[in-house]
Subunit: 356 residues, 5 copies
């Protein structure tokens, strides 16, 4: 019970922080803008800094090679090569378009995944509304239904999200976390088909619901049907998540994008070198040594691509990824709190302030 309360607390904190951040950003002033730009966690800076350093070191190495090591004829050749590569690079590798369209389709997929994540409150309210008794047996029933649904979610997410896998490396850890009893575990592992294992808790839920109807705890066939439909909607969302995991975007698509971005900046290592002034045609051009503009370009494009990478695997361990463990805890707490609510607690009817 302790553990649960701790989690509860951490959720509140997280929730508050989230809210505070949002409030700050809700008017678009310069200050809030700066705050958005300066955040480190999950930011463009964190995402690109390391790679930018590596790239810059490589650039400097090539620069030194060209200026101090090469003979003059080699220098000439290097300059010609640099000019040749610089010439076609932007029509050759249409980064902007590829990234634009790729990010658009990945954002879409991401928001579909988000919607099918499985939020328990819909089913929990239906259960609490239509199963109205409050004796210990019925309460036990209602709490068990919630637990089975969260168990189902945990089973599915264990196979998709590495965060959840870390938390529940084996089925036994689910028992330790209180989501599963040893008796239930035995029944679960007696099922040969992995995929059916996922849905076994949902079958238990449906079975208990039908029994509750037969026992007269749910009054009416239509109401039973309504609860089961809500539970099935929860399950279907998780089933869709599994499907997104099984059938990812065909490998060629991200490969083309990842390859193109790296290739582009690989070529830039040569094509964007400052040529020695006495060789350069345009004598006015500056020799800054450090490729300032290309570095900015690196940040912009790599940052853009990070968006795609972060959204392609939204269940991973990156800073921006969905916190699956948090969702499991929230579902458990909210679900139990909702079904614990006693219908006798509903406030009696009163005339409202606008009466008359």
């Amino acid at each position: 019970m302790k553990k649960l309360e701790d989690r509860l607390l951490s959720i509140f904190k997280l929730d508050k922080t989230g809210t505070i951040f949002y409030f700050d950003a809700s008017t678009t002033t310069t200050k809030s803008l700066l705050r958005v730009l300066c955040r480190w966690r999950g930011s463009i800076w964190k995402a690109t800094l390391k790679q930018l350093c590596v790239w810059t070191i490589l650039y400097m190495a090539i620069s030194i090679l060209y200026r101090y090591v090469m003979s003059e004829s080699w220098q000439r050749y290097f300059e010609a090569l640099s000019a040749y590569l610089n010439n076609d690079i932007n029509t050759m590798i249409p980064l902007t378009f590829m990234l634009g369209f790729f990010v658009a389709s990945v954002v879409k997929r991401w928001s579909l995944m988000l919607n099918s994540f499985g939020w328990i409150d819909d089913s929990a309210i239906a259960i609490a509304t239509f199963i109205r008794d409050n004796d210990e047996d019925t309460l036990m029933l209602k709490r068990n239904l919630i637990r089975y649904m969260v168990l189902n979610q945990a089973l599915v997410l264990r196979d998709i999200s590495i965060q959840v896998r870390y938390r529940f490396p084996t089925l036994e850890t689910l028992v330790a976390a209180g989501l599963l009893t040893t008796e239930e575990l035995k029944k679960l592992i007696s099922i040969p088909d992995v995929y059916s294992q996922y849905w076994l808790p949902i079958q238990w839920v449906c079975d208990h619901l039908v029994k509750a109807h037969q026992d007269g705890k749910i009054k009416g066939e239509k109401l039973l049907d309504t609860i089961i439909m809500k539970v099935q909607k929860f399950r279907e969302g998780l089933s869709e998540l599994l499907r997104y995991d099984w059938v990812p975007i065909p490998l060629v698509y991200p490969q083309v994008i990842l390859f193109s971005v790296r290739l582009y900046f690989g070529i830039c290592l040569i094509s964007r070198q400052f040529l020695l002034p006495n060789h350069a045609k345009n004598k006015d051009s500056v020799d800054l040594w450090i490729p300032f503009t290309t570095m900015l370009q690196f940040i912009v494009y790599m940052g853009w691509m990070k968006v795609a990478e972060a959204l392609m695997n939204p269940l991973g361990e990156d800073d921006d990824d969905l916190e699956c463990n948090y969702v499991i805890d929230k579902n458990l707490i909210t679900g139990l709190t909702i079904v614990d609510h006693n219908v006798q607690d509903t406030p009696p009817l009163r005339k409202d302030a606008f009466w008359g």
Copy 2:
């Protein structure tokens, strides 16, 4: 009651204004075009003017530095730098594409949020239709149901929208506004889980509905189910709003865009300087001192980005943001008016004008 009527009035006024504005714009004549372009509130002008001034002052400062402070060799170097930066800037920072795709995905998200905002009339009509008695008790029931639903909306919006938070800083202010009784408040704060607090009023609504069915006020299990489905749809919309708030677009995406736009115009401070005619290669070029075209570009791009900023946080305090408080009031007034409607008031059947 007074307060309510005042609000009512202000709503009518707002409504009328809205209508009038719309009527004007409904034929696309030059005059209506001018009116659209000249509006200040929530306009491109208001959004960009201050930043444009700052930018222009910085530009002028650099210009004076370059013309009157720098030595000639420094001037040469500055000119080379300016040319170097001006050269690559458009391929380096593909603003048009990034903004185009980003605004497209933000507009989509915005219209999804708008749809899930929670409008009460659907549920209110269902309640008024299927709970047909008109004695004081039943009327009290119907009015309470509406009030609970609006309360639910207010509770959710308090945590998302800063406007609503200003209006209802504490739960006690909800009591003062007549949305909550002190008795109900006590029950509400006795719930430990914030998230479940949101849904408690909806549980009360469902509970009262089931009781009304048991008391024979709602005639038929299917009709009960229909009303509850409408109420749940209202709640699901608000639940989706919360989800959009919890899982914002990954930070990297807006950061990349915001950073790129600022970077672009930062570079323009140097690259778009008018070079002294005797140094410039193209002797015909004008020296306007004020970077007229870049200023226009500033307005266009910053305005475009303001679209994205305004739509990313549609519940904030910007001029274009949704007026959440207005929606809460409207829902309360409309809901109460609809359920107050007495079925005995339905006009009797008459032959229509086209009979025969």
Copy 3:
């Protein structure tokens, strides 16, 4: 009755024309292409001609000023300015992208509005199918239900569409048109909340349906529920229309687009002037006086923007806008015809031609 028949006729005519036009265009031959290009009503030509004339006159005026009024030093300055503006204009104002993305999002919104417009046939068939008696009272009931639904639509469209407002400037005109009786009008104006006024006729419909169920005219709770769901779907569509009207696309977005297009062609007035040959660097260049290519560009871009303008306010008075009054009439006629259909008129069962 006369009036109704006239309208009926005009509908047929309109319908036929529509069909004929469509048939012509259904094979994409050169002839049908020419017909599409040459249509005047609602065409690109009509939309841009006036503005093009104004622009050309301004261009000519500046041209004459430059050639005959200015001193030579002023001419030199003008030429430098023209070159300066011509240089950056396309990267400065990325018209193509802005228009492309804006039109795409506006087209989407437009097709959503179209779908939620409110077509009565679904509800009418449900009413005619499930309320089967054909005595005068029941017929009166069925006709009244249709009339109330059309009345609801007229009330909503009056506040959104200026066409409908012209046709029904006051509520009394609705009485004159036969959509409302004076008795009903009194009840309608006794409702203080405008928004609830819209939905009052729908409440009447629901009320009559519930009564019809109680009287045994609708046999079965599920069937009652089905009819009410259809009626509510009709109402929800109109409710969505109102919402699109209340929460338009944030002003900044169209303002940025409108401003950019005008700005672009404003700058073209100077930047696209033909410079005097003896000053121009490229001596071969022609001096056409009339800026032929820029005029074509004007037509193309203004035409493209007209698409956005026409679709932003689809309920206005432009040639391409939805003919709201026609929809109201069609709904009334079709609805009445469908419910007038006597079930005794259904042809008896016969063996079909393929029996065997």
Copy 4:
């Protein structure tokens, strides 16, 4: 009956061909690629060849005029004009973007139309499942229901698709085709409102279904409701088709696109002429007489636009258009076959091969 069988045969053939084509293309080898590129029917080649010839002839005529007919001063002027036009053409007419966005929105609309086309199998299975008797009367009923639904589809498509109009020029031809009896025809033409005529057969279907329920042939109100919902879904699809026909994309949009493409290639007739070498600045440039690259560009752009044209009117007579008549036949055959299926024919239960 003969006719039906012939059609049946032709359907099989068509089906097989379709399948075979698809199989070939299912692995993306060079051979299958060539087959796709070389197909003539509905191809880019067929779509653009004629227009390309006309364009090339015009080009050659202008070329000859320029080379052999013009005086030298005219030639100079022509050359200047050609250079002037060639200069701005790509920024002036942003074909790529316009086509890209237009085709995207047209493809979307097309796939929406495809979905709402009306496929009968859903309703047919519902009818066959829930109306279980197999005496001659019930069989007649079931077959009649199918026929009425197909009749409804034929009536709607007659007014939208020119193919179907050719097949059924008058209502009498529907009688000849066995879709309508003369008795039913009389009832149909006695309805004054065209639009209601479409839905009359659906009203007959609903009426027969309600009667079947009253006669005890459909056991249960909910099952009756389910069948009627399926039939209504079929009807709604057709109703949406009609709506797409009535409210086409506003004329300005396709007009802008069609005009721009033609204008572009019209200008190319002059701007892409090979200038005489002794006048040309770049003496190295080839003089090919035939504008090879512009011809390829013509094929690419015109082909792209053909996509838009083909998808804008998917019910026309072009090669790629939906074969409406085939759909009508298929619906009739499939529907009748499904309802003919005798429930006594369902195979008895057997233990399956994996019984454990």
Copy 5:
């Protein structure tokens, strides 16, 4: 039975691999990036390597011809041609846009197809929940229902996917695989209409369900309706798949894209030749013999197009295509396992760990 177990095993293996791959990619580190880039199966490398080789050989052949075979005047002509082609190629063939928009629309279609693929677990849980008896007869019934649904899927996929066709070349092979009994086969082939054949197993399912309701095995009309709705949803998905197969994207669209890409690189064979230094204007330019940059461009564009090709026919035999046979097996195993689950196996209610 053996065969089934083998398949079971292979499924587990495949599942694990999939999971492992995903886990690796879930944090976007350099290592995981390299792994993504280096995969061969279904990769950009495998897709483009062969074609790149052919292209390079052709390029070298032309290069040798130009350098050693041609006379000097021919060389001059070749150089002029190369320059002429190189000039316009990028505006002439707007590959980036065409590919961007085409891939976007193909990705959309692909994800729609994926969703309508037919997953049995929804129906299987409904069957297992509502048909609760566990005697041999009922078990046989439940297993038969699952088998019929999988049979339906196999029948449909046989005609769409070449993988499934290879596995089940004739209907007899379905008998051998245990999906069909010879008795059922006879009934199946007695149906004249191919299309109706697909749906016959679904009719059997519906028929058995109605009978089970009549025998009291399904308790309640609403529950029967719910199961049948789930089964129909399964069938509708497959029906949509068939429709996507019948009405492919109009041929012109892919043809334009395929043609344009090939044409572009065909022209590059000439336009991207390194010209002999003494003829070239820019004497500094390198002569690399091998067209390094164009080869990279080839990989990028061909890879991008492979995305479109792979997604256009997702049921083919390419590496990235959906493994239809695997889906059929999984559906059979999961379905049987779920319905085999005995309701007596549901664990009894226990107080959970958080009780209290």
